[in-house]
C-alpha cells in the first residue's frame, strides 16, 4: 500500500552535546560568585554572632518554639494557598524592615534632632504647604507669578519666624507627643484613606483614629517593656502601627489570604515564647558580638565594651545628606537630558562623560571633595556636610543614569498623548513622565545610596575621623561611618578580638542596613513591574 511505502521509521536525532556543555558552563559561571559570597558571608555571620556558643537547650527551645512552627505553617500555606504565604511573608518582612528604619529614626530623635526643633520646622513647612493647597482650591485662574510669589513669600516668612515662635511657646508638648503627632498624624491620614476606600467614610475615619490612638497608647506602654516613650513613639508610628494597618487592610481586601496572617503571629509569638522559656530554664544564648551593647555604645579600647553607635548615626546622617543633595540634582539633570536637551554634539559629549564619571574610582571623588570643598571653599575637614557632598558627587552619575533609564522607559505613546492634548513640555513632565518614572527613579537612587553607604576611600580622603566617640548632631560636626569604623578596627586596633569579633559584627550590621535599603528598592520595583 502507498501509505506503507511512505512510512517514516525515524526522524533521526540532532546532536545537543555542545549546547548541553555550554549550558552547564553557564550554570557554573552563575553559581561561582554566589557560592563564594555565600561561604564568605556564612563565615562572617558565624564570627559575629557565634551561634555555636549557645547552650544546646537554647537551640532546642528556639527550634521548637520558632523554627518548627514557622516551617510547618509555611509548608501548609504553600500547599494550600501560596498567595496567603506570600501575604504572611510580606507582613513579616514589612515588620522587620520598618523596625530597622524605626530604630534608625528613633536614634535621630533621641540623639540628633531635638523633637521641639523638629516640630517647629514641621509647622513652618506646613504653613506654606497649606497655602499652596488653599491657592489651588481658591482660584485656579490666579496668575502663575502671583501664586509663586505668594507661596515663596509665605514659605520664607514662615521659615524665618515660625520656628522661633514655636520654640518659645510656653506650653510644650512632651517629646513623644510631638513625634506621635508629626509622624502618627500623616500615618493616620494614610490609614484613613486606605480603609476609607476599602469600607466607607466612617470606617476610614475610625481606622485613622485607631491608628493615631495606637501610636499614643504604645508610646505610653513603652516604659513597661523598658523602652522610653520617645523611641517607642517612633517605633510605633514607623513600624508597629503601619505593619498592623497593612495586615488589617490585606485581611479586608484579600479575604481568601487571611490564613497567611497567622505567619507573623507564629513568628513573633514563637520568638517571644522562645526567649521566655530560655530565660526561665536558664539556657545561655550565643555570645554574639552583635548585641544591644554593640549597637548603642561608642568605640572603646576594650573590645567587649566597644560599639558602633556613633558610626551608625554618622552613616544615617550621611545618607540623609547624600539623598537630599543627589536626588534633586540627579533627577533634574536626567529630566533635562531626556526631555529638554536637543540631540547635538554637546549633549552627546555630556552623555559620554556622565557614563565615564560613573566608573571613576571613589578615591578620586574623595580627592575632588577635598580639593573643591576644603581647599577652594574653605570647609573644615571631615564634617557631615563635606562627607555628604562628596558622596553625593560620587553617586550623582549613577543617579543620573538610572533616572534617565526610568524616564526613557515611559512609553512614547504617553508623551504623544499628552502633547496631543495640548500640554506644554512642563505639564507633560510634571503630570505624565515623572509620576510614571518615579518608582524607577527611586529604585535607582536607593541602590546608589547603598553604594554610598559602603564607601570608605572618599571619607578617608576628606579627613573623616576613623573613630568617633560622640554622635554628630549638626552638619558641621565631624562624622564617621560604619565602613570607616570597621576599617579602623581591622587596621589600627588589630587585636585578636577586634579582628575576629568586632570587624565581622560591624560588617553584619552594615550588610543588614544595606539589605534593608535594597529591600525597599526591590519592593518598589516589583510594584512598578506589576503596574506597567
Amino acid at each position: 500500500m502507498a501509505t506503507d511505502t511512505n512510512r517514516i521509521e525515524s526522524f533521526g536525532t540532532v546532536s545537543r552535546t555542545v549546547g548541553t556543555a555550554f549550558r552547564y558552563l553557564l550554570l557554573a559561571a552563575t553559581l561561582f560568585g554566589i557560592v563564594m559570597l555565600a561561604v564568605f558571608l556564612v563565615q562572617v555571620f558565624n564570627d559575629a554572632i557565634q551561634p555555636l556558643t549557645a547552650d544546646a537547650g537554647w537551640h532546642l527551645t528556639f527550634l521548637l518554639t520558632l523554627v518548627v512552627p514557622t516551617v510547618a505553617l509555611s509548608g501548609y500555606l504553600y500547599l494550600r494557598t501560596p498567595s496567603a504565604l506570600r501575604l504572611g511573608a510580606a507582613v513579616v518582612g514589612t515588620l522587620v524592615v520598618t523596625l530597622m528604619f524605626g530604630a534608625g529614626l528613633a536614634m535621630v530623635f533621641v540623639d540628633v534632632v531635638v523633637p521641639l526643633v523638629w516640630l517647629s520646622y514641621v509647622v513652618a513647612l506646613a504653613i506654606p504647604a497649606v497655602t499652596v493647597v488653599g491657592l489651588e482650591a481658591a482660584d485656579r485662574r490666579l496668575p502663575f507669578t502671583v501664586r509663586t510669589g505668594l507661596t515663596v513669600a509665605v514659605a520664607a516668612l514662615s521659615l524665618l519666624f515660625v520656628p522661633g515662635v514655636v520654640q518659645t511657646v510656653p506650653f510644650v508638648p512632651t517629646d513623644w507627643m510631638i513625634v506621635a503627632l508629626t509622624i502618627g498624624g500623616p500615618l493616620a491620614l494614610v490609614v484613613a484613606g486606605r480603609f476609607g476606600s476599602l469600607t466607607d467614610r466612617r470606617g476610614g475615619l475610625a481606622a485613622g483614629v485607631v491608628a493615631l490612638g495606637a501610636v499614643a497608647v504604645l508610646s505610653l506602654l513603652g516604659p513597661f517593656v523598658g523602652i522610653d516613650p520617645l523611641p517607642m513613639s517612633v517605633l510605633a508610628a514607623v513600624a508597629f502601627v503601619p505593619t498592623a494597618a497593612y495586615a488589617a487592610s490585606a485581611a479586608l481586601s484579600r479575604p481568601a489570604d487571611r490564613a497567611g496572617l497567622a505567619l507573623p503571629v507564629v513568628v513573633v509569638g514563637g520568638a517571644f515564647l522562645g526567649a521566655f522559656v530560655a530565660n526561665l530554664a536558664g539556657f545561655a544564648g550565643p555570645e554574639s558580638w552583635v548585641d544591644w551593647q554593640f549597637l548603642t555604645s561608642a568605640h572603646s579600647s576594650d573590645p567587649v565594651a566597644a560599639g558602633l553607635y556613633p558610626a551608625i548615626a554618622g552613616s544615617i546622617l550621611l545618607m540623609v545628606t547624600v539623598a537630599a543633595l543627589s536626588f534633586p540634582l540627579g533627577v533634574g539633570a536626567a529630566v533635562y537630558l531626556e526631555e529638554y536637551a536637543p540631540d547635538n554634539r554637546l549633549t552627546r559629549l555630556i552623555d559620554v562623560n556622565i557614563s565615564n564619571l560613573a566608573g571613576v574610582p571613589s578615591v578620586v571623588y574623595g580627592l575632588l571633595g577635598l580639593g573643591v570643598f576644603v581647599t577652594y571653599l574653605g570647609q573644615s575637614t571631615g564634617t557631615v556636610l563635606l562627607g555628604g557632598a562628596t558622596l553625593a558627587l560620587l553617586i550623582l552619575p549613577v543617579v543620573i543614569i538610572s533616572s534617565r533609564e526610568a524616564i526613557r522607559s515611559v512609553p512614547e505613546e504617553m508623551r504623544q498623548a499628552s502633547y496631543g492634548m495640548g500640554a506644554t513640555r512642563w505639564q507633560t513632565v510634571k503630570n505624565v513622565i515623572l509620576p510614571r518614572a518615579f518608582p524607577g527613579i527611586l529604585t535607582g537612587t536607593i541602590l546608589s545610596l547603598g553604594r554610598a553607604i559602603g564607601e570608605t576611600a572618599p571619607l578617608i580622603m576628606i579627613g573623616a575621623p576613623n573613630v568617633l566617640f560622640s554622635t554628630p548632631t549638626e552638619l558641621s560636626d565631624k562624622v564617621s561611618a560604619m565602613p570607616l569604623q570597621v576599617y579602623s578596627w581591622a587596621t589600627t586596633f588589630a587585636g585578636d578580638d577586634f579582628y575576629n569579633g568586632l570587624v565581622p559584627a560591624g560588617v553584619v550590621v552594615l550588610l543588614v542596613v544595606l539589605l534593608a535599603m535594597n529591600s525597599v528598592a526591590i519592593v518598589l520595583r516589583n510594584k512598578y513591574q506589576t503596574e506597567a
Binding site: R140, M421, G422, N431
Partner: protein, 297 residues
Amino acid sequence: MSNDTPMTQNEEASTESETGSADPTGDTLVETDVSSGLDGGTPQRSTSRTLIESKNVNVWYNDDQALKDISMEIPENRVTAMIGPSGCGKSTFLRCINRMNDLIDAARVEGELTLRGKNVYDDDVDPVALRRRVGMVFQKPNPFPKSIYDNVAYGLEIQNKSGDHDEIVEQSLKRAALWDEVKDRLDESGLELSGGQQQRLCIARAIAPDPEVLLMDEPASALDPVATSQIEDLIADLAEEYTVVIVTHNMQQAARISDKTAVFLTGGELVEFADTQKVFENPESQRVEDYITGKFG
C-alpha cells in the same frame, strides 16, 4: 470665541454649519452629498464650509520627501477619511494639522495649512495652543496610568478650564459611549479597561476640552471587530459636533463612515480627493481604482 462654556460653543458651531450656505463671508463651499446608501448611519447633510485648507503642503524627513504638494479642503462637521498604503504619508499629513510633527527634529514642513483661515505654520502660532483646539486619537489606545476620571479631566486640568469638571467628564464619557460601562468605577486605572474601552476613553479624553477638530490616526486598527464597530458608530455621532479627520488602512471602514475620502499613494502624493461615494464607485484615477479594487497595495 470663548472657551469657557464648551456646550455653548458646540451649539454655536453646529448652528453655524447648518446655516453655512447663507454665510456672507464667502468661504468656500464644498458640495457634500452623502444621501446614498454608502453611509446610512450619518444624518443627511447638504453643504458645509471648509474648515481646514491645505495649499501645496510639502513635508521632508531629513532629505526624504514624505508629502508632495498636498492641497485639499476639509469640510466642517464632516468625516474626512484618508486612505492609502503604508508609508504613503497619510499619518504625516494628519500630524501636520496639529503640528505634532514639530516634535520630530528631522521633520520639515513647507506650504500653507489653514484652520479657519489662519495658517497654523505662521510664526505667531503657538503649537500648544493650536493642539488645544485640535484633539487627537492615536492608533494604539494610550490612556495615562491614571484613574478614568483623571484621564478624561486631563485636558481640562492642563488648560485650567473653569466650570464643573465632574459634569464635563460625565458628558464626555457619555458622548464617547463609555459612561454606562465605567460610571461606577471612575477611580479605577484607565489601563484596567479593555482595548476598545481604552480607545473610547481616549476619545472621551480628546473631546473633553471641546476641540474643533478631532484627528484620528487609525483609531480602530488595534481593536477587534466588535470594538471597531462601536468606534465607527461613535465617529458617525461625533461628526455632528466635530470635524473628524480619520486615517485608516481599512477601505470598507472609510466607505462606511466618511463623507469625503482622500487617497494617498506611495510617494506622498494625494491622488484623489472627492466625495466618498465617488471615490469608491467611480474614481477618476486608474491608480486609485487599482488600489481600491485590490490590484495594488
